[in-house]
């Protein structure tokens, strides 16, 4: 039985067996298969199925929740009984909103059949491209080949039923040349995203970075012009999808966007939006409550248009509820090579690491440069550079844009994200490390 039919059967079983005033049922199936290699050897090789049913129900506004991985009929009947007991001994949810009803939107899916059929042999074949290259080049390679399949379902007492299926394929490698490391990754929803040819290409890009780092130079901390590669940018701008991006947080005063809705907050070339059906970074097109997610701008032409808003706050304040499912920043056709030409003196950042919040009210983040970190002078890469800690805000960075390049996707993250490479002025590299 396919998972959608299985979920439909479960929904009917719950409908028949609960006396709750209201309920929301979430279903999630995940197959995660991953081959991990290090020092040219496979260190982990997994293929894992996980399936969960998440039931939230209400009696007189009192809320209970229970999640189970056992989806047999007896287990679900037991789940209902236990969940009802939790709800009856719970407290009133003061922000309870009745569950959503059918909105008539048809299910959409983003599935590559080749991913569904992918086995350990194919992952070994892909890993072997990098491992053979590493043997040939007498270097070490570390990385992963990963394919996932996800099914999401949501149903409510009020008749809403949605189901979404998606696949992803991810490949990443780090190449070690004389203890210098370069890295790169591939990410997409189909197997073609991690073809042997693409793996071969990103292996050699990482090797090239590690070789460039061999003769790295030392620079003083300060503010510099930088080109942030699109792949590195996916790791940084993901933060803008969740931190402070809440209409309620703005209204109540604890968001970096307080007082900024409707105002220009970044460079006018920046368009920042969510769009789950966009092929560049597809994502689940509804929330766990079943609220449909459509294309919607957070920032348009540099102006903060609106921020996501939950159903309770929207109802209370006469807003429209909406949510973010993926993040896209519009790109251009300019390559990173073209953007480098605009740097008189600065750095090309090819990877970032360990990004954390420092100051919430102005959105200052910190992190490190990692792997490919290259010094640029007169429009040319001159050498590798010693790695830096940086402290800066994505909002300041988007306001200090010099130019925008071609984008890259990263589906192996909290959200699917597609963002461009960015040439940025006055980026703050605050302290050096020892390598």
């Amino acid at each position: 039985m396919d998972n959608k039919k299985r979920f439909e059967k479960i929904v009917k079983l719950i409908e028949k067996n609960t006396e709750a005033d209201d309920y929301i049922i979430n279903y999630n199936f995940n197959n995660n298969a991953l081959t991990r290699f290090a020092n040219n050897m496979v260190t982990q090789n997994v293929d894992v199925d996980k399936e969960k049913l998440d039931l939230t129900l209400y009696f007189d506004g009192k809320k209970g929740n229970l999640i189970t991985a056992d989806l047999s009929e007896d287990s679900i009947k037991n789940l209902i009984e236990k969940c009802e007991n939790i709800a009856k001994n719970s407290v009133k949810d003061k922000e309870y909103m009745p569950s959503l009803s059918d909105d008539g939107v048809k299910d959409t899916h983003k599935v590559d059949k080749k991913i569904l059929e992918m086995g350990p042999e194919k992952r070994a074949e892909i890993a072997n491209v990098a491992i053979k290259n590493a043997s040939k080049e007498n270097v070490k390679v570390y990385g992963t080949v990963n394919n996932t399949t996800d099914n999401f379902g949501v149903a409510t007492k009020n008749g809403l039923f949605k189901f979404h299926e998606k696949t992803t394929a991810n490949y990443s490698n780090t190449v070690d040349y004389k203890d210098e490391k370069g890295a790169n990754f591939l990410s997409g929803y189909d197997l073609a995203s991690i073809s042997n040819e693409k793996v071969d290409k990103v292996f050699y890009e990482a090797l090239n970075d590690s070789k460039t780092l061999e003769n790295r130079k030392d620079f003083e901390p300060g503010r510099y012009k930088i080109l942030l590669s699109a792949k590195a940018a996916t790791k940084l701008f993901i933060w803008m999808g969740f931190f402070g991006a809440s209409r309620r947080a703005v209204d109540e005063g604890y968001s970096p966007y307080v007082g900024k809705i409707g105002k220009k907050i970044v460079d006018e070339r920046i368009n920042f939006y969510t769009d789950p059906l966009n092929d560049r970074a597809p994502s689940k097109p509804f929330t766990d409550e079943g609220l449909q997610i459509e294309k919607k701008y957070l920032i348009k032409n540099g102006v903060l248009k609106d921020l996501p808003c939950g159903r309770f706050w929207a109802d209370k304040n006469n807003y429209k509820p909406w949510a973010v499912s993926n993040i896209i920043i519009d790109d251009t056709d300019k390559s990173e090579k073209e953007l480098i030409k605009q740097i008189d003196k600065g750095f090309y950042i090819r990877d970032l690491w360990y990004i954390r919040m420092v100051k919430r009210d102005d959105f200052t983040l910190t992190g490190m440069t990692r792997n490919g970190f290259l010094y640029v002078e007169d429009g040319e890469i001159q050498s590798g550079a010693i790695h830096y800690r940086w402290n800066d805000s994505p909002l300041r960075m988007l306001d200090n844009i010099i130019d925008i390049g071609k984008g890259a996707a990263n589906l192996n993250s909290w959200y699917s994200i597609y963002v461009p490479s960015l040439l940025i002025d006055n980026f703050y590299l605050s302290s050096k490390t020892l390598f």
């Binding site: 090789n45 070994a124 420092v358």
Partner: protein
């Protein structure tokens, strides 16, 4: 449960494997989130499944399933075997395991009150009371409350004859108070320090009593003096040091990371194997001890997921790096015949990986109170609680924030500060440690969400410390560029 493990091992015996283990794990996690006096989110996650790991010709294969009928267990064994065989296409050095004795044993966290027997309303009402107390302070805009309970009940069996059962409990609660001022906002946290205990740990803590005081702290931070920039002496409280220990000692001494196995994701380590026994990691006052038998420690599981009983050892002794955290498949790389038992998985569905054990900074040997330490400090900052944290992929350059900061001038606390960050290089930092308070001040703080591995896993462990002083540390560089 035992029968299913036995059945899986019987199926495995039909294949030609070098080694295999089977973990049947039931996990129950309850998470409660409140927003002011609203029950924002409640999750009761019950998970049961079987994970099968096989070693064939030096290659791992791992497969897992939540479907526990004999047909599905047989298919999962076959899947693990096929995965290991598929890896044979790749020419590589074999995975080698240490030789260990078979162990038959059980372990149970001693608890007085099962947290899963306490009603949701009793738990939520504690957090609502916290809100009622906090909101007495003007400018408090919100209180985010959190409670967390975790039970792991596992049966382990391997092809060498080990049969283990452990039943582990963890309990914790915390909250964050946000105060809003003119154009800015500040937070103050009840520093969550979950322990491997039952619900009695929630009842023993001053969760409600501390709320008003912490709310006042949040308001003080709104108008506090901004962090100075430059070199300062730091007094770090155990609530803060727990994270510094975790990031700058715990992760660099995970042997898989030292060997490069995490190079593609979590990073590598400067604490490479040739430094063992001769590297001055810290001053001679610094003793860092790993202890997976530590009472109330979140890493105290009885045995790890290789089936190795919990152990205690020095990682750093009198300032010198002397050992690592090891697993059965890494220990031989440093010439060890046995694992120190650091292999743990966060789910039945995760292949176990090298994790940080309970790891603590041992108290100073001489009598020293916190008041004495402050009185002995001329120009410093005291940092309480966890805040921002980030470290490079070799674990050298780190930057930490905190939750509450106080200026120290001429041996006295003078005023609160805000936006304090400090930045250092790991060995320089630990070598600057010149004083550690005595054992009367030694406190344990749990880490709930240590992320590592691909696919990502989350693990728990505890770090204890007494307040300690670090001389001439760079402060304020993050926000003064």
């Amino acid at each position: 449960m035992k029968q299913k493990v036995k059945f899986a091992l019987d199926v495995i015996s039909n294949y030609n494997v070098d080694y295999a283990d089977v973990r049947l794990r039931q996990t129950n996690i309850e998470m409660i989130r409140t927003y002011n006096n609203v029950l924002k989110n409640v999750r009761n996650d019950d998970e049961l499944g079987i994970g099968i790991r096989v070693l064939i010709n030096g290659r791992w294969g791992f497969a897992a399933t939540p479907h526990l009928d004999e047909d599905n267990i047989s298919k999962t064994v076959k899947r693990a075997v096929n995965i290991a065989k598929a890896a044979a296409k790749i020419e590589q050095k074999p995975i080698i395991l240490t030789k260990e004795k078979a162990v038959i044993d059980t372990f149970k966290t001693p608890i007085k009150k099962n947290p899963f027997d306490v009603s949701l309303s009793d738990k939520a009402n504690i957090l609502f009371n916290v809100y009622e107390n906090a909101k007495k302070v003007k400018k408090v805009k919100k209180v985010d409350g959190y409670m967390y309970f975790h039970r792991i009940h596992q049966q382990f069996g391997n092809t060498e004859g080990s049969q283990l059962e452990n039943d582990i409990y963890m309990s914790g609660s915390s909250y964050e108070i946000t105060a809003v001022g003119d154009g800015s906002f500040e937070t103050r946290n009840y520093q969550m320090f979950p322990k491997s205990k039952g619900y009695e740990w929630i009842e023993e803590q001053p969760l409600e009593e501390k709320a008003e005081e912490l709310a006042e702290d949040a308001v003080k931070k709104l108008t506090a003096k901004k962090s100075p920039a430059g070199k300062k002496d730091l007094i770090l409280m155990p609530s803060h040091l727990s994270l510094t220990i975790h990031e700058s000692v715990g992760h660099p001494t995970e042997l898989d990371r030292v060997l490069g196995w995490e190079a593609n994701f979590a990073g590598i380590s400067f604490a490479t194997t040739e430094k063992r026994g001769n590297f001055q990691y810290g001053s001679d006052k610094v003793n860092l001890v790993a202890d997976n038998t530590l009472e109330e420690g979140l890493g105290t599981w009885g045995f790890d997921d290789d089936g190795i009983p919990g152990q205690k050892w020095h990682m750093v002794k009198d300032g010198i790096l002397i050992n690592y955290g090891t697993t059965r498949d890494t220990a031989h790389y440093i010439g060890e015949e046995h694992s120190l038992g650091c292999n743990r998985a966060d789910s039945y569905a995760s292949q176990p990986i090298n994790r940080i054990p309970n790891l603590s900074l041992m108290p100073g040997k001489e009598k020293l109170s916190l008041d004495d330490l402050i009185a002995d400090t001329k120009d410093g900052i005291l940092i309480d609680g966890r805040g921002s944290f980030s470290i490079d992929q070799r674990r050298y350059n780190f930057q930490f924030g905190g939750d509450m900061f106080y200026e120290i001038k001429n041996g006295k606390i003078t005023q609160p500060l805000r936006d304090v960050t400090y930045q250092s290089i790991t060995p320089e930092f630990w070598n600057s440690c010149d004083a550690i308070c005595d054992e009367d001040h030694w406190q344990k703080y749990g880490v709930l969400n240590c992320g590592k591995g691909e696919p990502g896993q989350r693990m728990q462990m505890t770090h204890a410390a007494s307040p300690a002083r670090f001389r001439n540390i760079d402060v304020g560089g993050a926000l003064n560029g």
